[in-house]
Every structure is written in C-alpha cells, then in structure tokens.
C-alpha cells in the first residue's frame, strides 16, 4: 500500500467512529510514523484528488470524504471502506464536535446501532455549543416514566424541528419509546386564524361539536399516543388550547371537542418550539407544566469552527446531490463564514444551495471542469457581508447570552470541544476580518469589547481578476518567500480573487477593516493610495525589494501586532511526487490528445519496454522520473519520424560514446531497435546517443566537450 493510501485509510477509519474526526498533518504523521512534511504532502494530494475534505484554519484539518461520493474519474481506484472497527485513539486525536452526516457510510457498520448517544452525535456542535442543549434533551427524554414535556427556544432557522426529531430518535434508540412509535408534527400557525379548527385538529372532535363536524374524528394527540407530539410555533396556540393540554400533561387525559363522556387517555411526550419569549407568549400555568426549556443558540452565538463545519456539511450534501465535487474559493469561503446570517442554519443552508445551483449552472454551460463556488455565485446578502458578528470573532460561545431566552446554560469553554472551538475561531480572526467585507460597518458598531479583531489588522493582498486562483498561488509564493518576516510583523497574506466589476467596491471596503500594506497581483487595483506590485515586477524587476521595504517601513503593521501567526509549512512548490502508475496514466492521456500518427497507448507501452530491456541487459536501474521523460520523448520522436519530419542537427560524439561504454551502448541500440521495429519507425542514430546519456545519467556531450577545452 502506498503512503498516500495509508494516509487515506487512516482518515477513513475515523469515519466509523461517532462524529467525524478530522486530522491535522501532525496527527497523521505521528499516527503513521512518517514525517509531517510527507503527511502534509499526501493530505494535499488527496485533497486535490477530491478524496478528502479540508477544514480551513491553523492547523488545517482533513477528513475523508463520504464514500458515497465517487472519486473523480481517472483516480486510481478508491480503496474499499475501511473495515477496521476501531476509531482513532481518543486520547491522541480529539474528534471535532460532531459533524452531522445524512446517513451511515455505505458498507460501514451503522454507527447509530452503537448506542443512543450517537443519535445526537450527528448534530454539528453536539459536543460544542449544543452540548448543554443535548444534555437537557437527553434528560427530558429519559426522565421516568414517559419523559418530560420540553420547550425548544431559539430564533428562526436554528434547527428546532430537526432537534425535536433527533430527540424522538433518541427516545426510540434508548428504549424509552417503542420502535415505530409515532412522531406527529404540527405547526400551530397553520390554523391560527381558526382556533376552533386548530383545536379540533389537535384533540379531535365529536360529531356535531361544531358546524361541519359530521363525524367523530380523532385528533393528533391520539395519533401521537405512545410517541412524540411536536408543536411548532406553539405561541400561536390560543389560551384555551393551552388550557386543554393541562389534563393531558398532568394525568395523560384529554377529551375530544364536544365530547362529554369518559376521558380519553394518551401517553404523549410533548415538545413545543417557539421563537418568542415564552413569558410573553404562553400562559404561566401552561409554562409551569413544561418543565424543560432548551435554548438553541443562533448561528452568531456559536463558535466559528461549527459554522465552518456546517458550511462544509451543506457543500458536501450539495456535492452528493449533484454527483460532483464542490470547491469554494477562499474569498467565498470567508464570506460564507462571516456574513450576517439572520436566518441562522436554515438560511445558511439555503444560501449555500443557491450558490451551488448557480455554480452548477456555470459548470453545465461548460465554464469549467468541476463545480467551483466563487463570490459571484453567492446570493447578494452573502456578498454584502452584513453587520459585525454579534458575538465577536473568536469569542467563546456566548457566555450568559443564553439567559435571555431560557434556562439553558450556555456552553462552557472549559469543555474540550469548547476550548478547541475558541482556539479554532481565534486563529481565523484576521481572515474573518476580510470576510466582513467592511460593508456592514455603517450599520451599528460592534458591542464594545466584544470583538477580538485587532483594529485594522495588517494585511498584504494578493489579487487576481480571473477565477483561476492566481491569487492563492501568489499568496503561497509570497508566504514562502517572506514567511518569517510576515509572521514577525503580524501581517497576513490574503488572496482576493474578484470579478472586475467587484474590485473597486470590495477593495474599498477591505481597506476600512484592514490595513493593507500592499497589493501584489496580476492587475493594478483602482486604489491609488495602496502600493501595488505586479507579479511581473516580482519576477523580473525589483518587486521583492520594494515589498520588503514596504513591510519594513514603520506604520505599515498593525497598531498592536497580532501574536505572530504560526508559520505554516512551506508551500509545496511542485506537485507531491505522484505514483508512477498515475504518471503513466496521465502520460498516455496527454499523448492521446496530441499524437496523430502513432497509437499513444502502444507507444507508451513500448517506451517503457525500452527501459526495461535496457535495465535487464545492463543490470543498471533507470530512475522513474527519467523514465517518464524518456518515454514521452520516444513517443514524440516516433510521431515525428512517422511524419518524416527532420531532426535537428546536434553535434554528438557517438563513436566515442560507443567506445567508452560498449555494453551500455549495445543495450541502448538493441532496445531502441526493438522499439523501432514494433512501432514501424526509423529513428536517427542521435537518439541512441541521447538515450544512453539519459539512462546513464551522464551528460557525456558536456564531459567530452570540457575535456577538449581543457
């Protein structure tokens, strides 16, 4: 098994555990006993192959993509889902706060069967900001004999319905409810205009109890007997309706509307949900009968790392739906991470769906190879950013803020998950400042002291107009060159990739939140006050010197230099060494496109046969890199010979080569002759001279030449 497969297996193995642990390069390195540099290289290669996902931040973390997502075509086979049952060592690798997965990975054992605890594990933040809520919910469900009525509080879109469903599944998984027990959901707003109808829906009605009640009819309470009755927007339940629940909640008794006979019996776990302050919206006598109140935090109250997980989750889900890998540009990611999402998780999900739909359209119209979500695809409100994050970037989950809504205790950052969350979000501050886009600055300031973003963090922008990712490459290049200096000064390098029409406004907004030391890019930005250094100047001019000067001049850095960010690993300049089989496949694929007169696959095979024959005859080895180049050369040479094209006249002392290396020369000539015979071409003798030098790894022309000149 190659090193890359070992890394992939390791990440995959984590998927059978509860939640979905993500690994840093260091963790992978220590788990497999390889160097961190190699681990990082393989992880990045896997990421580029679309087999693992990345969670941005410092350090970047990786997790295996769901197996139901096929690898991109041409990928040399995804290994079967890991069968090892063991998850990662919990002591060494803290899993992330649970990442909700829509279903068990195909072929893997159902993790849900492991125990009822895993039901909540699917929720993003189950071990983070939702931990107190989860605990309360578990207590509510398990409380004997039939659980406790529960009120879910939280702004729109926080996932109250989903939470109620998960409570129900937990009740079934823990044996509190029988399998197949009913889960009846009802939105009280649906019949709010007609209280009579609403109550008859809930409690049922006797014939003639009201106009139009032509038959005895059971209500939802009866249907929910032995299960859960979920009442959404419970504040729309009129007072008399609330009162009708009293006997049900107290004794398990109720009557249908208009019924006077014996009371009916139902055992129902009531879960209500509301966006309103229950003190104002519900009768006090009703509230008293609902002992558990669970506050579900809004997106703004949750740590950034959970938002990142949610974004990734929704992107993955859209990707699965489209059967494609979805990638997001860094700026779009920042915007998704930072825009004011009034509608919380629900809105985040629909905004991501809209962006993916737009990106998919572009993909369909042939714009690009994969689905890339860029700023242009984001809905307007995402691009506009919105007001500053109320909790402040990097704030721990809002301490004490939860009090306004109910009895839920806000998460303590003393939990490991909370600590991780804080760490994760704090590291992202400067980048998050970019995402703010500054556009919300007009709308009311931050709460004093609530933000930990240093005022106007210093940044260096790498800018490109295209969607080709030049900005990111430039960023890597600049960081590689000036990493230590940038770290010392607390200057972040931020890639910005924009459409032409967005450049002016977006950069102007950035300038309000960031102290931009310089813009390095492929096009001059319309910002006369900011020094601009072109890529060209960096390469052939004195751009580096100018850039260093700008960084060194006082006043360019932040007022309070941020703690030096830990410099990441030096960017891998070249592609991580690929497996030879990958290279051969790639080679054949490119040659198929450009060879007309010879069959590319045959030529590639015969090319490698030349090298094998030579190795056999001489007992020497040819390194794989050279082999790839030689094969490519031979294929092109065969094509050229078939077309009768001339060879350049290159001086080469073939006789001396033959004289000095008779055995290797003979082997070379024979192997080449076999190649010519099989492909039906004639190659000039010069080719043997080239081939000998490549296979021997000696520049004989230069050696002979220098001897002569000495």
């Amino acid at each position: 098994m190659t090193r890359r497969e070992r890394v992939f297996r390791l990440l995959q193995k984590g998927k059978t555990g509860p939640g979905s642990p993500a690994w840093t390069a260091s963790q992978v390195a220590s788990a497999l006993g390889i160097s961190r540099c190699n681990a990082s290289r393989e992880l990045n290669a896997l990421y580029h192959q679309g087999r693992v996902n990345k969670i941005p931040g410092k350090p970047v973390r990786f997790y295996a993509r769901s197996v139901e997502q096929p690898p991109p075509p041409g990928d040399p086979g995804t290994p079967a889902p890991a069968t090892e049952p063991a998850g990662p060592d919990p002591g060494r690798l803290p899993p992330l706060p649970g990442l909700r997965r829509p279903g068990p990975p195909a072929g893997a054992a159902l993790p849900e069967s492991a125990g009822p605890e895993s039901v909540f594990g699917e929720l993003v933040g189950a071990r983070g900001s939702l931990r107190p809520a989860v605990r309360q919910a578990q207590a509510a469900v398990l409380y004997p004999p039939h659980g406790l009525a529960t009120l879910l509080l939280g702004p729109t879109g926080v996932g109250k319905s989903l939470f109620a469903q998960i409570m129900y599944r937990y009740a079934v998984a823990s044996g509190r409810l029988r399998p197949g027990a009913p889960f009846v959901a009802f939105n009280c707003a649906d019949y709010a205009h007609n209280p009579q109808l609403l109550l008859s829906q809930l409690f049922g009605a006797a014939r003639g109890s009201y106009t139009g009640a032509q038959a005895d009819r059971a209500g939802l309470v009866e249907k929910a007997d032995g299960g859960v009755l979920f009442l959404d927007e419970i504040h729309r339940l009129p007072s008399e309706g609330q009162e009708m629940f009293f006997p049900l909640l107290d004794e398990g008794h109720f009557r249908r509307l208009g019924e006077t006979g014996a009371e009916r019996h139902a055992s129902v776990l009531l879960i209500g949900a509301t966006t309103q302050d229950p003190a104002a919206a519900l009768l006090e006598t009703f509230r008293r009968r609902i002992p558990i109140t669970i506050h579900l935090p809004g997106l703004a109250e949750r740590p950034l790392v959970e938002r990142a997980e949610l974004i990734q989750l929704f992107l993955d889900r859209e990707g699965r739906r489209m059967g494609k890998t979805v990638t997001v540009t860094p700026l779009a990611w920042q915007l998704l991470l930072s825009y004011e999402c009034q509608g919380n998780v629900g809105q985040l999900r629909s905004d991501i769906q809209m962006a993916c739909a737009d990106a998919f359209l572009e993909y369909r119209s042939g714009g690009r190879a994969g689905i890339l979500v860029d700023v242009a695809h984001l809905p307007e409100r995402v691009r506009r950013g919105g007001a500053p994050h109320p909790g402040g970037w990097g704030s721990p989950p809002a301490q004490g803020d939860g009090g306004r809504a109910g009895s839920a205790t806000p998460p303590k950052s003393a939990t490991p998950a909370g600590r991780r969350a804080c760490r994760g979000s704090r590291r992202q501050e400067p980048a998050a400042a970019l995402g703010k886009n500054g556009k919300g600055l007009g709308k009311g300031g931050r709460k004093p002291g609530s933000s930990r973003v240093p005022p106007r963090a210093a940044a260096l922008l790498t800018l490109c107009l295209s969607r080709e990712g030049s900005a990111v490459q430039l960023q890597q290049w600049v960081e590689e060159r000036l990493g230590p200096q940038l770290a010392r000064l607390g200057v972040q390098v931020i890639p910005v990739s924009l459409l032409e029409e967005e450049v002016g406004s977006t950069l102007a907004a950035l300038l309000r939140t960031l102290k931009v030391v310089a813009v390095v890019g492929t096009v001059p930005p319309p910002l006369p006050e900011v020094p601009y250094i072109s890529l060209h100047e960096l390469v052939v001019g004195d751009g580096w010197r100018r850039l260093e000067g700008l960084l060194a001049s006082p006043g360019t850095t932040a007022v309070n230099p941020a703690p030096a960010p830990v410099p990441g690993p030096p960017a891998v300049v070249t592609r991580p060494a690929a497996a030879l089989s990958d290279i051969v496949a790639a080679l054949a694929a490119s040659l198929r496109r450009c060879l007309r007169r010879v069959d590319a696959d045959q030529a590639v095979a015969e090319g490698f046969a030349v090298i094998q024959q030579w190795e056999r005859e001489t007992g020497q080895r040819c390194d794989p890199d050279t082999a790839v180049g030689v094969v490519m050369h031979l294929c092109c040479a065969a094509e050229r010979a078939r077309g009768g094209e001339p060879w350049p006249d290159v001086p080469m002392d073939l006789q001396r080569m033959e004289a000095e290396f008779p055995r290797a020369w003979q082997a070379t000539a024979r192997a080449l002759a076999a190649f010519e015979r099989r492909l039906g071409v004639r190659l000039p003798e010069l080719e043997a001279g080239f081939l000998l030098q490549a296979l021997l790894q000696r520049d004989l022309s230069a050696e002979f030449h220098s001897e002569r000149s000495v």
């Binding site: 030049s470 052939v540 890199d625 030689v630 490519m632 050369h633 050229r640 490549a694 000696r698 520049d699």
Partner: protein
C-alpha cells in the same frame, strides 16, 4: 521573439524549456505560455535542446529541464541561471500552471541590500552564480 512588456519597463522573462532535441516540450511550452498570460506575466518560452542552451546561455533568464534530460542538470547549472527539473507528472500532463509556479519559486530570493540592477533601465537580474544561489537551492524536491 520579443513581446512588448505590458507592465512598466521590465523586459519579458525568457525561459528555456529543455528537452532532447526539443522533441516533447512543445506541449508544455504552449501551456506554460498560456499560464503566464493568465497571470499577466510577460514571458517567452522556447523549447530547445541542451546544446542550444549551452551555446547561448545569455539568451535565457531561467532554465526548465524535462525529466529525461535530468542528466544535464549539473552541467547546465554551471551557466548560473535559475534552473529546475520539471516534475514528471507536471511534464506528463503538460500542466503549464504547475510549471509556472515551479518557475516562479526558482526566481532569485529577495535581496535586502539595494540591488545593483534595480535602477538600471530595463535592468535584468544579473544571473551570476552567487546571486542565483537561492535558485539552485530551490531545485524541486520531488525530483531529487
């Protein structure tokens, strides 16, 4: 083969893409030039054989070698130009973008002292072995 420099008075970067007899580099040549254009980088790429580079080293600012002429790395390094062997996968896929990144990473490291060519009109990096030290150090790991 001169292209008007689009930015300031910096001359175009001249790159020698070396293989044996210029046979197999033309694919990459095109894609490398395309990648450079996408980055608004003024760059001229010539697919050449080892002999031509040796005869006219002054014509090139940087040298990229195909993996099959790896053997010539040492002898060509004496020319004192930034030089690297192209990763075989990059070569096989004719990935100009990747080759460009590799090339950019080769270019001289920033100098702290004011450089002597900084103010010269059309100043071109001098290309002496000492000032190219960074370039040599940065030979791509993958091909080592």
């Amino acid at each position: 083969m001169s292209v008007p420099a689009p930015q300031g008075n910096h001359p175009a970067l001249r790159v020698a893409l070396v293989c044996s007899f210029g046979m197999s580099t033309s694919l990459l040549q095109e894609s490398l030039e395309r990648a450079a254009r996408a980055h608004s980088l003024d760059m001229v790429v010539e697919a050449v054989g080892t002999a031509e580079v040796r005869q006219h080293p002054e014509s090139y600012d940087a040298i990229l070698l195909g993996p099959q002429v790896r053997y010539a790395r040492q002898s060509l390094a004496r020319l004192g130009k930034p030089l690297a062997v192209i990763d075989p996968f990059v070569y096989a896929t004719a990935n100009g973008e990747a080759a460009l990144r590799m090339l950019l990473a080769l270019m001289p490291a920033p100098v702290s002292a004011p450089s002597e060519h900084g103010n010269a009109p059309g100043g071109r990096p001098s290309g002496t072995p000492s000032s190219r030290g960074g370039g040599q150090r940065r030979s791509p790991r993958a091909t080592e």
